[in-house]
């Protein structure tokens, strides 16, 4: 199995696997384990199959490394270097570090594609149905399916989902709960951790350095919340803990930011005085006491810094996506457009759309000058000339009607009066019975009711598939390029395969299960197919000429 063409990147002896001693090898593309003194490969995991690796926590007697595969099978390796625990740890960490660099490369290649396809199929039942009907029945090949029929779905995926920003109050939102004995309990979710990492890259760095090698995750976060770094008035100068360094890094960042200046002319980062305009109505004479405590200064500084970090967290993402060439361009133009920017900013602040004069809209409106407005009032009716009855005729009719009405009063009440003659009643009965003159169109309705749901679903699926194939078939016309012609031939074959593999069996089933409906249900599907075949044959004829 172990071919000579592979390079051995790392060899670690004294590794136990399932109570067997052997050596662990990290090759170009896979991880293997061989039994001591034998040339057979007992375990072989291509990197592409490995989902993740886990290591035993510090302090455990056994030094172990576990790789978990995508099919959730895992293999555990036990490091048994005779030179003691430190050597075992060193062995393990060498493997771990190398795997850490190797795995991401392979991950991107293979499983990302597969996983994405799987995800696409599970997220889109329509696509899954198409896949079942087209690929599994081999009407079209898998590659064709993904390249042509699933295009709109795969393209949709390519559009990056919108990045979720960081809430400015995310730290304040982590509300600690008292545990009843002088302690505080912080509940943090992966989302919050993500926010912290985004906003404070220095913490992320610390996390990667320390977890899980030196600290467990819980320990790390406990330390984080206990640290002065987390606290709002960061007085960490005399304190020595894990996050002291982070604070220093942040300070340097802040200094750089202040030096670079803030683009927004309405923000004054270095101003520490906390006063509002309203207090003195703009003309504050009262000099505020100059001894602003360092505590509140620190706090304002902390707030400003937090805001900067939050803003940066979202900005970074945008910049990553935007191409770098924009950066150089904006750099040079920055100085020139700054005054314009300032003026624009101030204008933005002092103008209100709804207070703007109406003259703009007044000039913009055009008065409609409509003629023949009555045409809107006619219904969707041809202009039927009102029936004109001459006055003579009208008065004659009136006389007749009045005479008829007069009879109502004269004629005594007849309870047994025949309102509907028997012959008319029979006629009406016939008209209203199924099949009668007034019941036309009823048959088709009942046909729809006769179809059982599972058959209906099948018909639906057949239409889905056929329409997909036909869509591609008709798109080839007129076939001007060679590729279009090739595709046309392919689509024609696919249609024929569809008919034999899907439609024919369904029709056979209908004849067995629903004899009276057998032809009706697939009639239109066949019509669609025949139209396509005819078009194809005509094209072939013209081509051969």
């Amino acid at each position: 199995m172990s071919t000579s063409s592979e390079d051995v990147l790392l060899q670690v002896p004294s590794v136990r696997y399932k109570k067997g001693d052997g050596s662990l090898f990290l090759m170009d593309e896979r991880l293997i384990w061989m039994v001591e003194n034998r040339d057979t490969v007992a375990v072989s995991h291509p990197y592409a199959d490995i989902k993740s690796q886990k290591i035993s926590p510090e302090g455990k007697a056994k030094v172990q490394l576990q790789v978990v595969l995508h099919n959730s099978v895992s293999s555990t390796f036990h490091f048994t270097n005779k030179n003691g625990l430190q050597a075992q740890l060193a062995d393990r960490d060498r493997v771990k570090d190398m795997l850490q660099t190797l795995l991401p490369k392979f991950k991107r290649k293979v499983d990302k594609e597969l996983e994405e396809k799987n995800k696409l199929l599970s997220e889109n039942p329509m696509l899954l149905q198409l896949y079942k009907d087209l690929v599994i029945t081999e009407v079209v090949s898998s590659e064709e399916f993904w390249s042509q029929h699933a295009q709109q779905y795969t393209q949709k995926r390519k559009q990056q989902p919108q990045e979720i920003g960081v809430s400015g109050a995310f730290l304040a939102d982590i509300k600690p709960q008292t545990d009843g004995c002088n302690g505080l309990k912080y509940n943090i979710t992966p989302d919050i951790i993500e926010c912290i990492f985004k906003t404070y890259p220095a913490v992320k760095k610390k996390y990667i350095e320390n977890v899980p090698a030196k600290l467990s995750e819980a320990q790390f976060w406990t330390k984080f919340f206990q640290s002065h770094y987390f606290h709002r008035d960061r007085k960490y100068a005399e304190n020595k803990d894990l996050f002291t360094e982070c604070g220093k890094i942040d300070d340097q960042e802040l200094k750089r930011d202040i030096q670079a200046g803030v683009k927004d002319p309405l923000v004054n980062l270095t101003e520490f005085e906390d006063k509002t305009l309203e207090e003195g109505y703009g003309g504050s004479i009262e000099k505020p006491p100059s001894n602003i405590s360092t505590v509140s200064q620190a706090m304002i500084k902390r707030f400003n810094q937090h805001s900067i970090m939050v803003l940066k967290a979202t900005k970074n993402k945008v910049n990553d996506n935007a191409t770098d060439n924009a950066q150089s361009g904006s750099e040079s133009s920055k100085i020139t457009d700054e005054p314009v920017n300032k003026k624009q900013k101030i204008l933005e602040k002092i103008t209100y759309d709804d207070l703007e004069g109406e003259d703009v809209t007044k000039n913009g409106t055009v008065h409609l000058n409509l003629s023949k407005v009555e045409r809107y009032l006619h219904g969707p009716m041809p202009d039927t000339a009102a029936e004109h009855i001459n006055p003579n005729e009208a008065s004659h009719i009136m006389r007749n009607v009045l005479q008829e009405v007069r009879q109502w009063q004269i004629r005594p009440h007849v309870p047994n009066h025949n309102l509907v003659p028997p012959s008319a009643a029979t006629q009406a009965l016939g008209d209203l019975s199924p099949g009668g003159a007034l019941m036309r169109g009823f048959q088709e309705q009942s046909l729809a009711q006769l179809v059982p749901p599972h058959i209906e679903q099948e018909v639906r699926n057949l239409y889905l598939v056929l329409c997909e194939l036909l869509g591609h078939f008709w798109k080839c016309f007129p076939p001007t390029a060679v590729t279009a012609e090739q595709k046309l031939v392919k689509m024609n074959e696919a249609l024929q395969r569809f008919q034999t593999v899907k439609l024919k069996p369904f029709e056979d089933k209908l004849i067995r299960e629903l004899t009276p409906l057998s032809q009706h249900l697939t009639k239109h599907l066949n019509q669609l197919l025949n139209a396509a075949y005819q078009k194809y044959n005509n094209w072939q004829k013209i081509k051969s000429r």
Binding site: K372, H378, P380, E387, V401, V405, H417, L419, L432
Partner: protein, 316 residues
């Protein structure tokens, strides 16, 4: 059953509102807290209907059939309510309950008094209405106005009904008149009002196909029926229109026909499948014209390539 109906009738008292008597229950009947059904029937009595021109006695057939049908509706449930309107060329009036004091009736041949009262009131009021008609100028029936009145009546009954009673209302139009283009806007207004008020509109046409009223039926989920023979009108009414809308779903009734909702062009008033719509004033035309004849907007003449496309651009 007759006894109990008689009792409940005695509890009614008459209340004058505008010119129409309206019955309200004096003391709410505890047993009648379930659903009641209000049916408003509009009879077209315009003498210019082809039906009446051919044979004036057909009016008696129609009126007798409608009365028998109305009584069947009252018979279905003691709480069912009824109103009958006459739609004429110049006016529409309620003929039951009428503007005057109700006719005094005694029991005849064991017939339920209210049935006889319906018949007498309707016929009396109708003859008065027809006799008052003295103009010899023929005009079309004001059906849209009659529907509007019926909707107002229904709205008032809905407002004044005692709490806990669910009232299902519907309007049945029995007409032999033709379609009317001049009432188009009025029709559309009443159709959508009816839809909004959950009032079902049924149409029973005796002579011509009424495409506008058919749209109204479609909009309000009512039934549309063109009766093939007026002599069997009562049977068609009882068969098709007597069951209440929720029950109709369970019956085998004439299937709804696909309603033609096409628009007519402003230039020739012909129904068109595809047309040109002015992007400024929404006028509809069957042919492209560079100047809209309604709002006088000037359009760019489509270039040789764009001739096939239906889009037009406004010239600014």
């Amino acid at each position: 059953m007759v006894l109990s109906m008689q009792k409940s009738f005695e509890r009614f008292y008459l209340k004058k509102m505008n010119n129409i008597e309206l019955r309200t229950e004096n003391e709410p009947d505890v047993s009648s807290t379930d659903e009641t059904s209000l049916l408003v029937i509009i009879i077209d009595t315009n003498p210019t209907q082809k039906l009446l021109r051919d044979k004036a006695s057909q009016l008696t057939t129609v009126v007798d059939s409608v009365i028998a049908f109305a009584n069947s509706h009252l018979m279905q449930k003691a709480q069912n309510k009824l109103a009958i309107m006459a739609c004429h060329s110049k006016t529409s009036q309620f003929v039951y309950p009428g503007p005057r004091k109700p006719v005094d009736v005694r029991q005849v041949d064991g017939q339920y008094e209210i049935f006889l009262q319906v018949e007498k009131t309707v016929k009396q009021n109708l003859s008065l209405l027809l006799a008052s008609e003295n103009s010899t100028i023929a005009t079309e029936s004001l059906l849209a106005g009659a529907i509007a009145m019926a909707l107002c009546y229904i709205a008032r009954i809905q407002r004044t009904k005692s709490a806990g009673i669910k009232l299902n209302s519907r309007i049945l139009i029995v007409s032999g008149s033709g379609d009317s283009a001049s009432q188009y806007m009025n029709y559309m207004n009443v159709f959508f009002t009816a839809q909004k008020q959950n009032v079902v509109l049924d149409v029973c046409t005796l002579d011509q196909h009424l495409s506008l009223l058919q749209q109204g039926c479609d909009i309000t989920n009512g039934l549309y029926l063109k009766v093939p023979q007026v002599s069997a009108l009562l049977q068609f009414l009882l068969w098709v229109f007597l069951p209440e809308p929720p029950i109709r779903e369970k019956l085998v009734l004439p299937p709804p026909v696909k309603v033609d909702y096409r628009a007519a062009c402003f230039c020739h008033r012909e129904l068109i499948d595809i047309g040109y719509v002015c992007s400024v004033c929404l006028s509809i035309f069957c042919k492209f014209s560079p100047i809209c004849t309604t709002c006088h907007t000037v359009f760019k003449i489509p270039g040789p390539l764009a001739v096939k496309s239906k889009k037009k651009k406004m010239k600014l």
